[in-house]
């Protein structure tokens, strides 16, 4: 009865160095709340203060980007595999200009 979550290097300081942790939840936000209870602070790296999925974090349910599955409301089931990857992005523009360009 668990959902496997693959954690990138940059977030492993929240998981005691673990690359893979387990959690539970019927939705992505439920899973993230469950993970945050065990790995305090992790939620703040994935969710903005406004409660949305962080723009520069990619989360996948099995082979699908959660942005195509309802984002934080994405439905989960036991046996699903979650992968978290920090976005690889940037460029010559300033941050505010980039955000505006991307409409976020």
């Amino acid at each position: 009865m668990a959902i496997e979550v693959r954690v990138p290097t940059i977030l492993r300081n929240y998981t005691g160095g673990s690359k893979i942790v387990e959690g539970a939840g019927e939705t992505l936000i439920g899973l993230i709340d469950d993970l945050d209870a065990k790995h305090n602070g992790l939620k703040g790296r994935l969710i903005t203060p406004e409660g949305g999925l962080h723009r520069f974090v990619n989360i996948y349910v099995n082979d699908e980007d959660v942005r195509f599955l309802g984002a934080l409301d994405a439905k989960l089931k036991d046996g699903d595999s979650i992968t978290i990857l920090p976005a690889v992005a940037g460029g010559a523009l300033g941050f505010a200009a980039a955000a505006a360009l991307l409409g976020r």
Binding site: I10, L85, G91, L101
Partner: protein, 157 residues
């Protein structure tokens, strides 16, 4: 982050000192940057886990298709990272081009950089007949430039 153990120096293990990279791979990166100019180009060079040796060049799509911004396509990113995992590799180098500015990480680059163990390689293609190539570590938004040591070795680009 901050827990890296000291690795070999003065040979190919060169964390935080220098990026050692094969000329063939660097040429392929520059060719990719030229091909996508004036849009920014991006990609990775994979290498064996813990080796710090970039050996397999993987040009990637710039999903932003922009002259001033780049972003890995999310599905390609997942596919490439899974493949590296299966091959016991990691992203030794993450590169992108700046097409009208210098090869130095922008504030955006530094803020977003999420792989503290990678060498962030930047190529500037603003000059039509020469490239500026520089490499950096970016940890917690802090940019540290490192030397680029170009070698003529025998890896497949």
């Amino acid at each position: 982050m901050g827990t890296a153990t000291p690795r070999r120096r003065n040979c190919f293990g060169n964390v935080n000192v220098v990026l050692t990279i094969d000329r063939t791979i660097l040429d392929a990166i520059v060719a990719h940057a030229r091909r996508d100019h004036p849009d920014e180009a991006c990609g990775v060079v994979a290498g064996a886990l813990g080796s710090d040796v970039p050996s397999r060049h993987i040009p990637m799509d710039n999903a932003a298709r922009s002259m001033t911004f780049y972003e890995f396509d999310s599905m390609e990113y997942l596919r490439v990272w899974r493949e590296m995992d299966d091959r016991d590799e990691e992203a030794v180098v993450i590169y992108h081009s700046h097409t009208a500015t210098e090869a130095y990480p922008s504030r955006t680059d530094a803020d977003i950089a999420g792989w503290p163990d990678a060498h962030y390689l930047l190529v500037s293609t603003r000059e039509p007949d020469s490239e500026e190539i520089r490499s950096f570590r970016i940890v917690d938004g802090v940019v540290t430039e490192e030397e680029v040591n170009i070698v003529d070795a025998t890896v497949d680009a």
